[in-house]
């Protein structure tokens, strides 16, 4: 009888591993994504996801699919690009967004060129877009470790992150080392991107950070609400995406997960209390207020003209 109720995908160890791994990943990536959005760094996160590619590729070519070497390679590339971006923004005419955009494009091109030249045994598609088959025990340990580090870090960083995101100048005036929070947060971003790499691929990893966080903004006006809803959306996207990828084996897991997150975003936009309807109402109210102000002013002017 029990066998009757067991879904087909539950019989596969890789699927069970993938579901456990993405549950831990969702707990870790949701708060990071929420603050990436709130700190207006969504595109910087996307760029950073691409920037770590050469590090991962070089580590893969040198040491194979070892989780340790991929982690070290990705960290070196991520920190290197972040440091170089900061240096270029400080000493040259380019702003940090332009510096980061230039560097991540170069990094991505270098990564893909090395991967192709090395004649990799791993298909390029699974490297860029992830594969549920890629989640082995080592990957699970990496995801578990990153989730533990991220959640412990958030216990300490949550308040400073809130203050520094809301009012950076006030935070700078209150803190002895304000840059430390920014640096630690970016380190968490890179760690989570690396943890998500096997499931989602380098191109899709940041999608799981951004889309659930932006969807959650439409549902809640408090930071706690956004963190919890963001986690629920992350988890829902991962589980649904993995199942789609399981039943459509030609489809990599990364795009499936991000596509589900995208559907959640559109539903949130259309139906959430702070979504499109609220926005349109607010715009209409402002327009009405402005036009009634104009009518009032023209009446006053007409009154003044003898």
């Amino acid at each position: 009888m029990a066998e009757f109720w067991t879904p087909e995908w539950m019989e596969f160890a890789f699927m069970r591993r993938a579901l456990v791994a993405t549950t831990a990943l969702s707990a870790s990536i949701a708060p990071v994504g929420a603050f990436l959005v709130l700190r207006r760094l969504s595109l910087a996160g996307e760029a950073m996801a691409h920037a770590i590619t050469p590090g991962i590729v070089i580590a893969f070519v040198v040491a194979g699919l070892s989780v340790g070497s991929l982690l070290i390679g990705g960290l070196i590339a991520g920190i290197g690009v972040a440091a170089l971006t900061s240096l270029l923004a400080r000493v040259t005419i380019l702003r940090s967004d332009a510096s980061l955009a230039s560097l991540y494009l170069i990094a991505l091109a270098v990564g893909i060129t090395i991967l192709s030249a090395a004649g990799s045994a791993v298909p390029l598609k699974s490297f860029l877009f992830g594969s549920i088959l890629g989640i082995d025990n080592d990957s699970m340990i990496l995801i578990g470790a990153v989730a533990t580090i991220t959640l412990c870090a958030f216990v300490v960083l949550l308040r400073p992150l809130i203050v520094s995101t809301l009012d950076p100048t006030f935070f700078e005036s209150q803190s002895k080392n304000p840059q430390l929070i920014e640096q630690m947060f970016m380190l968490l971003v890179v760690l989570n991107l690396l943890a998500a790499f096997k499931t989602l691929g380098t191109l899709m990893a940041v999608g799981l950070m951004i889309l659930p966080a932006t969807s959650a903004r439409y549902w809640s006006a408090t930071i706690t609400g956004q963190l919890l809803i963001g986690f629920a959306f992350c988890l829902g996207s991962c589980w649904a995406g993995l199942l789609i990828s399981f039943y459509a084996p030609e489809t990599p897991s990364g795009p499936c997960i991000v596509l589900v997150a995208g559907v959640i975003f559109v539903i949130s936009l259309l139906f959430a209390p702070l979504g499109l309807r609220a926005g349109l109402k607010s715009v209409a109210a402002k327009t009405r207020a402005r036009s009634s102000e104009n009518v009032q002013q023209s009446k006053e002017i007409q009154h003044e003209i003898p």
């Binding site: 709130l38 207006r40 216990v155 300490v156 960083l157 949550l158 308040r159 400073p160 809130i162 203050v163 995101t165 809301l166 009012d167 950076p168 100048t169 006030f170 700078e172 005036s173 209150q174 903004r217 809640s220 006006a221 408090t222 930071i223 609400g225 956004q226």
Partner: protein, 261 residues
């Protein structure tokens, strides 16, 4: 206003020969002033005169190029600070009460809970600035004036002996400005020092005891009436002589005399 009446009490802040700016670009030098309990010091200057750098230097966010900032009563644990509204994220998902509570952030640190006394202080601050009725609303629903009053609540909660306000009236209406000026008067009466950075000369300056006029790489400090004269404003590059000629009264009835300067 308790301005300048506590001559025998030690100053909160003494500034001696202060030079502001960046290593390759000095903005002002030789600044000499002090802030005593109850003083309300207006810092006035044209764009680029160094007002923002002055704020950052007093807050310790930038080192002075030369000179010293000394704290005869000991450096306060914190300085009450209100940045310009343009630097603030108005869409952040936080309630008005939590915004005010941020003033006590250093008190409850990374994880501690807000105790009853602090909670009472936050409620009192919200009432003092007239935003208690919107305490549980998200800040993005507040008007510009309400938001500025909520930020004043945060400064009240900070309970600091020295308060630094950077362009606090730039985006508020006259009614809000009057309410916030009353809060500044209250701070002065409580013996706190207030530094008010303003760009425009306005009625706000009536509430200030002293002024520091920045411009032309130097600063003029003294009582408001003595510092904010047409002659000084023209000499410090705040306005041109032709602009001054069109202004019948610049400050407190100071009569413009043709050919001054």
């Amino acid at each position: 206003m308790a301005a300048g009446v506590r001559k025998n009490t030690p100053a909160i802040l003494n500034c001696d020969g202060l030079a502001l700016g960046y290593p390759a670009h000095e903005l002002a030098h030789g600044l000499q002033f002090h802030v005593q309990p109850g003083d309300v010091l207006a810092v006035v200057g044209h764009n680029g005169s160094g007002k923002t750098t002055f704020v950052k230097t007093v807050l310790g966010m930038r080192p002075p190029l030369a000179g010293t900032l000394s704290w005869p009563r000991g450096r306060p644990r914190e300085i009450g600070y209100l940045a310009q509204l343009s630097e603030f994220d108005r869409r952040f998902p936080i309630k008005t009460r939590d915004l005010a509570a941020m003033g006590a952030w250093r008190g409850f640190g990374f994880r501690g809970r807000v105790d009853e006394a602090t909670r009472a202080r936050i409620t009192m601050a919200l009432e003092a600035t007239g935003v208690a009725e919107v305490a549980d609303q998200p800040i993005y629903t507040l008007s510009g004036g309400q938001l500025q009053r909520a930020l004043f609540s945060r400064v009240i909660v900070q309970d600091a002996p020295l308060i630094l306000l950077d362009e606090p009236f730039a985006a508020v209406d006259q009614r809000t400005e009057a309410q916030l000026l009353d809060v500044i008067d209250q701070w002065s009466a409580e013996g706190r020092g207030v530094i008010l950075v303003v760009h425009d000369l306005s009625a706000v300056l009536d509430r200030c005891s002293h002024a520091l006029l920045l411009g032309g790489g130097r600063g003029v400090y003294g009582a408001v009436d003595e510092v904010l004269t047409v002659q000084n404003l023209v000499a410090q590059g705040y306005m041109s002589e032709s602009q001054a000629a069109w202004a019948p009264r610049i400050y407190r009835g100071t009569e413009l005399e043709a050919g001054h300067g």
